[in-house]
Every structure is written in C-alpha cells, then in structure tokens.
C-alpha cells in the first residue's frame, strides 16, 4: 500500500459525514457526482440551469399548470423577488442554493433583469444575495 493510497483512504473517511445525511429516496442513476465546468456568467447560469424550465426565450410554458415567464416580467424590478425565488424556491421549483453560489445567483439575476425584454439596469451584487441568505 502506497502513501498515496493511504491519503486516498483518509480522504474517503473524511468524506463520510456527507454520507450520513438522510437520503432523498426515489429512483436515481446511482452514478458518481457530475463533473462539469462551473457556469460563471449570468448567461451561462441561465442557459445551464434556468432554461431547463423557463425556456431559452424565458417565456415559460403552459400545460396543466404553468411555468412563469421571466421575459417582460415587471416583478423583476424588485431584485429581492427573483433572488428570493432562487434561494427559497416556490411550488415545484426547488431552492437552488445547493447548486448555485451567491455570486452565480447575483450574476444570473442581473442577466435576467437586463435581458428578455427586461430593462432593470442596476446590477445585483453577491453581497445582496448573501444578505438575503443571512451571511
């Protein structure tokens, strides 16, 4: 057994507290954690996260229920509203704080507030998001 192996084993043991968390249950792939480049800009975060529900044109969709449009949405004028949605979730939308850092949230809120027919030019800062998270 090499020193590297010993270190690897020690790291593995360090990782166990995460395993102790209650599992969510349900069917899942059973794969290792996803490894992919982390989105940085507001546009990257939008495309890689928000677009999955709110659509590439941010117009949402209507079926048995509806996914709200972010395009031309006057509720975005108050930045606390979109930040709150991302931090807390609503209905089927999950809170995204496990997935996105305060910096990423600030970037994507700024992006959405200045695109898709929205014109709220004041940039949202990482500190604004942290404040809402009580950090």
């Amino acid at each position: 057994m090499t020193n590297i192996a010993r270190t690897a084993f020690a790291l593995l043991l360090l990782a166990t507290p995460a395993l102790a968390q209650a599992p969510q249950g349900g069917d899942s792939a059973g794969s290792s954690s996803t490894i992919a480049p982390v989105p940085v800009t507001g546009e990257q975060v939008y495309v890689q996260v928000c677009q999955g529900c709110h659509m590439a044109d941010a117009k949402g969709g209507v079926g048995a229920g509806h996914i709200p449009a972010l395009a031309k949405n006057p509720k975005l004028e108050e930045p606390g509203y979109p930040i709150g949605m991302i931090v807390q979730g609503r209905g089927a939308m999950p809170p995204l704080t496990d997935l996105l850092s305060p910096a990423q949230i600030a970037a994507v809120v700024t992006y959405v507030r200045t695109h898709f027919g929205n014109n709220y030019k004041t940039a949202v800062k990482e500190a604004d998001v942290k404040a809402m998270l009580g950090q």
Binding site: M1, T2, I4, A5, R6, T7, A8, F9, L11, L12, L19, A22, P23, Q24, G25, G26, D27, S28, A29, G30, S31, S32, S33, T34, I35, A36, V47, Q48, V49, C50, Q51, G52, C53, M55, A56, K59, G60, G61, V62, G63, A64, G65, H66, I67, G89, R90, G91, A92, M93, P94, P95, L99
Partner: protein, 528 residues
Amino acid sequence: MDTPGTTRRQLLTAIGMMGGTAALYQAMTTMGHASETQYKGSPDLTGARAGASVLVLGAGLAGMVAAYELNKAGYKVRILEYQNRAGGRNWSLYGGDTYTELGGATQHVQFDQGHYLNPGPWRIPYHHRTLLHYCKAFGVALEPFIQFNHNAYVHNANAFGGKPVHYREAAADFEGNVAELLGKAIDQKALDAELTADDKDKLKEALRGWGMLDKDMKYKSNLLSSEHRGYDRPPGGGVNGEPIPSAVFDFKDVVASQVWKNMAFFMNHEMQTTMFQPVGGMGMIGKAFWKNVAPMITLNAKVTKIMQDKTGVTVTYNDTGSGAMTEAKADFCVCAIPLGVLNQIENNLSGAKKSAIAAVPYGNQVKIGLQMARRFWETDDFIYGGHSFTSQDIALVSYPNYHLFEDGPGVLLGAFANGPGAFRLAGMTPEQRIQAALDQGSVFHPGTYRKEFQNGASVAWSRVPWTMGCCARWNEEVRKTHYQTLVALEDRIVLAGEHASYVGCWMEGALLSSLDAITRLHKRALEA
C-alpha cells in the same frame, strides 16, 4: 422447497384460517417475514352508502387505483384527467408516438416496433408488493430487469485518465484495498480497543476471504484478485488453458472513480435484485389500470378550481378540446394531481394545507432513448442489460433487458440525468440533447456509439406539461413541518400520490398512499 419452509407455510395457513388476514400478517411479521412492505392486501371498504359519489382528480396510478377500489366497493366514481391518455407518469414512448413538451418542442418518436423508452418509472423492486399485486390482478406480464452487471463500465472524468473501467475491476480493487488497509490497522493495534484477540483473528480471516488477500494479507495482481476482477487471459482449455492474472489498479484512481457510490447504490433496499419490468414497456401497467377504470374517465379535462362545502365537492374543469368550462360535483374527492400543478389551482383548502402543497419541490430528471442499428454492447462488449455509470451529465447508459441476442436494433437508455446535468440537458432542444447523449455515451463505446445511432427521443421532466417535474423531493425538514398536514383528510378531500408517501418517486408510493387515503375517506363517508 425444503421441509422447514413447508412446515412454516402450513403453520401460517393454520393461523390464517383461525385468525384471519390480520393475525396472519402479525404472525408473519413476528417470524421475520413480510416486513419489507406496508401492503396489507385490498383495502377494507365494506358498507359504502348507496349513491355516495367520489370525484378522482388525475388518472395516474394513484387516481386509478382509488377509482378501481372505490368503484368496486360501491361508490359512484368519476375521474378527471388533463391528458388525452390515462397512466400519468407510468408511460412508455413507442415508434409513431408524438410528444410535445412545455415550450412547444415536438418529437416524433421513430423507434422500431417492439422498442421503447420509459421516460418515468422503469424498474420495479421485488418488495413493491402493491404494484406487483395489481400487475398480477390485471394480467400485466413481467420479466426480469437486469439491474446489476459486473461487466458494465464505471467512468469518472477524474480517474483512470478519463477512461472507463469495468465495474468488476474497480469494485474488486476497492474491496481488496480496503480489506488490506483494515488488516494493517489490526496488525498495528489500531483496533485493540474494539476487538479481542479472537475477534481479530476472525476478522482477518474474513478480510482475506472477502478482499482476495494473499497469505500475507496483501491485495496484489495475482490469480486470487483476478478471480474477482477478471483476467488478462481467462482460464481456457488445452495447451494455453492456464489463466494469466490481470494487474490491479492504482488505489488512488479506484477511490477517485467513486465506484463506492455505485456499490452503495446497489445496496439500497430499493435497488436490490430481483427487479422487474413489464413486457413491452412500463406503460403496460398504466394501460392495464386504464382498461379497468375506462368508463369512469373524462380525458382532456384541465382542473381549474377545487371547492368544498358542507354538502360536497365542486370541481371546475376546462375541456381542453372545446374550451368549455364545466362543473363536476361529488360527495368526496381524491385529489391525485402532482403538487406543483395543484399549487397553482384555485381551491378553498386550509392555509396549512396550501402551505404543505407549496412546500415540496419536484425533481428534474431527464431520460433519453437512443436506437442503435445493432446491439454492439452485446456482440462487442458482452454487456447484457445493466448500467454503465459516468460522471458526465447523462449519468449512465443503461442497456435494454429485452430482445437480447437479436441481430436487429436496440434502444439504449442514453441518459438518466438528475441535478445540474439534468438542468443542462433539459435546457437544450430535443436535437441538442441527442447530440450531447451521443457525445457523452461514446466514452463507453467509442468506435460504435455514433456510427450505429439511428434515432432518439428525450423527456425532460421539468418541461412535462402535466407534472412540471418528475416527482416530489422531500427533505427531512419539510417532512417534519408539512407531511402530516399534506396527507390529512380535510373534510371531504384527501390527497394521494407518490408525494403523499415515504416511498416517494416510486409507483409503489403512489399506490400505498392512495389505498391509505381511500381507507380514511371511506371511514369519513360512513360518518357523514
């Protein structure tokens, strides 16, 4: 069948005859059997009042089992369903099917006849007794679902230079190295506080046998370890019959591959073998339920309002074909609408109930089916069913469990994504998803994956028009605050579905939830 088994069965039969089903169940549990399910057989709904009516909202499994059992008990039942089909998330896509997701992208599925994609549920644990009961009752043919395949692959971008390895090799090396390390810990007296000398001897023997260690307690490249991880030249006949061992991997890579996650996954109670699937696609179950409740269903009915008062329940719905708004009335209501949708429907439920409905987010899984011209995973790689795991967005490639050994095409599951990977795939057009799945799946089958591809289909659950998500994702905190409120009967209305269970995201949860809900509703109806 061995004799003790027969004796036990005879005893149980006798108890059953003397004390009825409840006594039998109690006895079985005491003897260590039947503790793997909360299913207790058909619900007791005797004594229903003549003419009492129930409106069921949603023709998924929860709604349909409620309708089936309540109707059988004598209730007048009607089901309202948003889609033009019953079955809900129990669903298979076949060649000739058309699917339009939220946002408007439409896919025309082109799989060959007899092949399919199961966008939602796709495997059934042997202990999901409720679901298996109704499959049997409704004549749904089941076949084994090949869950565990040692010869499929494990791929992690941070291990083995990004090259996939066989599950068998990585798992064997993980266990072998852990066994060796634990043996060392024993020899270095690190476990003296926990173990007696006798314990230590017994554990070392176990570690040697389990981890394929040599007499010096080392895990090495030799015929011992090769018995688990495979050979460079497998045992054969005649002159060159002698096997040549394979070389064990660097343990650093083995740990980095996170193969332990796959190993732990297979140990989950719900992932343990034996697993099953319906012959011809998971949607066969929904179709069988549908057949049994068809006269009660109104399709294309979009519920817009749910109100109850002292006299009954009134549900307003919009006929999505004609646009006509209609009211349906009944004494009681079983609401099996997914929470994300229900949260947006006007109702006069209590504030606490509304908060509970709004509190549970839904999963965003993405599934992609890829039809390949030939079954190269079988002919070239000797993979028959099972899953190859990856750290890429697709999460896995799963190989079909049907039409094995045929020359013709096969439909792979080219993605079962969740979390960030699923968001990325969901955000793409259906065409882009197929391309991403081909790129990523090629890591396992580089020469053939793209070459043999014929057509594909994808379902991103965050864009499914009738659920806006895959299934309820509870966490312990939300459970503590809202679960009992969510499942509680509120005067004349009760909720049912996988979201109202502790077997979330499984068909079994939908059924168990619904049977419990209608049992309580029936009790309430008798009190009315």
